[in-house]
């Protein structure tokens, strides 16, 4: 718990240690720091030479869309698809086997970033009511998509229950108990309490969006307050064990009160936090720390797969880090994501030419239509798993299904892109200007 509490203190300290110039802009993003920051800027000639740092959060939104977001969200969608097919050899190559965090962190962070980017501009140009309505409409779309997926899932499960039986698995088949009470189960699914395995991300996203309008308002007014508020909620949720209840038992797999921190952090980066962080990210100390942390995480993760390596992990260290809690976005996972992000932005700059290359185009396309492709991925994972279980798929079948799934995702994203392009053009012909254009992407 105490690790979360000192979040702001750590930020201040890191900024000071790594980059005294950047500290001025950091102060702007921390509560009560605006005045101190201004004073610091006056003293620092080099800081004054960077006017962008002093720009208001609303101004920061005006810049164009960052293709890196689409690229990494697209890659995250592929990884989520692969991770959702159990017993798949291709899984051994996904992110989660090499560190604490996985594609979920990337997806939620980028979703927060894009939400602030798209709706922040809407809020500035059209006001609180209109932008809030848009955010809520988006939440509704995601809800409908989730229920659609649930229906497909129920069909598959009902089929398995009707056709599969084996005395060896009498205990495991208890999980199908919910089929005996469709009235309760379907209602619980509609209120998002009953969520089958691997269908936890969209409900999280829905809750995050429902709470986003007031949060965005604060982000545009005082970004630091929003971030601090999110951190406080995170710490309180962990301390008092607050989470949404699930049906028939337990709590949500992704605790919205914990994961909102990553979402708001993404949004904070979009309204100017990223520019501020750029100073920190250029520092060699941060780079070194990030590399060291990633190596540490890699080693710990490898001990899960190679038990003999576990003997090198002293008991006190194990007691300190375990369990690495995904439900409550463990600090170790969050830190791992930050380290990955720090290294990524160092090597992949915003104007990197590779972003235009045809090789990365498929991932970018998928990232630009994330809701559709995410849902498709969940469906394809169901279908893939079904095929593997019906035909006792070997390594070749598993690899084939993985590749085919990603190809279907790319083809669908291309189709949506083409269709939206067509529609966009006809819209433009009708009303020449189209305010609030999403620059090829969506929140």
């Amino acid at each position: 718990m105490f690790r979360g509490l000192s979040f702001a203190a750590v930020l201040r300290w890191l900024a000071m240690a790594a980059n005294p110039e950047g500290y001025a802009s950091l102060l702007r993003f921390l509560p009560g720091g605006a005045k101190a920051g201004a004073a610091f800027v006056e003293q620092s000639a080099s800081a004054a030479a960077r006017p962008s740092m002093a720009a208001s959060p609303a101004q920061m939104l005006a810049t164009g869309r960052d293709l890196r977001l689409d690229l990494f969200r697209g890659l995250a969608l592929w990884l989520i698809f692969l991770d959702h097919i159990p017993n798949n050899v291709v899984n051994y190559f996904t992110l989660r086997n090499y560190g604490f965090s996985d594609a979920t962190e990337i997806f939620i962070f980028i979703s927060g970033y894009t939400a602030a980017f798209v709706y922040g501009r809407a809020m500035r140009e059209r006001g609180f009511i209109i932008s809030s309505a848009r955010i809520l409409r988006r939440a509704w779309q995601i809800y409908v998509a989730h229920i659609f997926l649930f229906t497909i899932f129920m069909a598959e499960i009902a089929y398995v229950a009707a056709t599969f039986s084996n005395p060896l698995y009498a205990e495991e088949m208890n999980i199908l108990g919910f089929l005996k009470q469709p009235d309760v189960t379907i209602f619980q699914a509609l209120i998002l309490k009953f969520k089958p395995v691997n269908m936890d991300v969209l409900p999280l996203y829905i809750v995050l969006l429902l709470l986003f309008p007031p949060m965005l308002r604060v982000l545009l007014w005082q970004p630091a307050y929003a971030l601090m508020g999110a951190a406080v909620v995170y710490v309180l949720a962990l301390h008092f064990d607050i989470n949404f209840p699930a049906y028939p038992n337990g709590v949500w797999v992704f605790n919205p009160f914990a994961w909102q921190l990553l979402f708001v952090f993404g949004a904070w980066c979009a309204v100017g936090g990223a520019q501020w962080l750029s100073g920190l990210l250029r520092s060699r100390i941060v780079f070194g720390l990030a590399i060291m942390y990633l190596l540490f995480a890699l080693f710990i993760t490898l001990t899960w797969h190679f038990e003999w390596l576990g003997t090198f992990v002293p008991n006190w260290l194990g007691a300190m880090i375990y369990p690495i809690d995904k439900t409550n976005l463990d600090v170790l996972r969050f830190a791992h994501f930050l380290a990955l992000a720090a290294i990524t932005v160092r090597f992949v700059s915003r104007d990197w030419r590779g972003l235009e290359s045809p090789i990365l185009r498929p991932a970018i396309l998928c990232g630009q239509h994330s809701l559709e492709i995410f849902c498709l991925g969940v469906f394809l994972a169901f279908a893939g798993q079904f095929i593997i279980s019906q035909w006792s798929g070997g390594v070749l079948v598993q690899t084939g299904i993985s590749i085919a799934g990603i190809l279907v995702m790319i083809a669908t994203a291309s189709l949506i892109s083409w269709y939206k392009g067509m529609e966009g053009r006809s819209h433009q012909q009708r009303a020449k200007a189209s305010p609030g254009n999403l620059a090829g992407g969506e929140a």
Partner: protein, 242 residues
Amino acid sequence: MKFITAVAAVFTLTIGPASAADECEVPQSFIASDVVLARVMKEIKANHRLNISVIGTGSSTLPGPDGASFAYPARLQDALKQLLPGNEIKVVAHVQSRQTTAEMAAQLTAILAADKPALVVWQAGTFDAVRGIEPEEFSASLVAGVETIVKTGADVDLLNMQYSPHTEALLNVSAYADVMQWVAQEHGTLLFNRLAIMRYWNDQGTFDLYTATKTSDMARRVHNCLGRALAYQIVNAAHLTP
């Protein structure tokens, strides 16, 4: 993992009579451990007897009136008698379906007092996953139980879930398996990795665990092999040469 499996397969071991040897093949790496079952070793060497309590839920037995006699606890007793001839071996199974680990932990004191076991094989996790018990809560119950057992001087062997490919999309057991691995590692107890062993058998084609069947034939063969592998693991960890 598959890579290790493949490498480990080269160093496989076989146990028991030659006729059933091939079917129950398990890679040494799944059985080997640095943990020493000191109490088991002492009981056999000093008193030539061994009392084992198996505590578990539905997956520690088989359906039907004679199911228990074909389930792994009974097979474990037979296999140990073969491996350790001249010793008095008694395996008592306390198996009840639909129990969470917290419920099992609550009964431990009574079971330990009645059986006075040198070793407790504790199968857990499946029903917790079915019920959606939080992994943290599962971990706390497991730790409390392990500490209760260790206090009586008995050794512990934690036994994790079955590999069940058909329910994988519904029932995510990996978080619970991770907890069991950490608890075993932290408390220096043995872990029988049923999940990995059954997955290995499935991958090797020894048992096609995707098969839908109403008969108990395959289930009995699987339990027989589990009992034998468990016996081998215990003998190995107690440094007793069969």
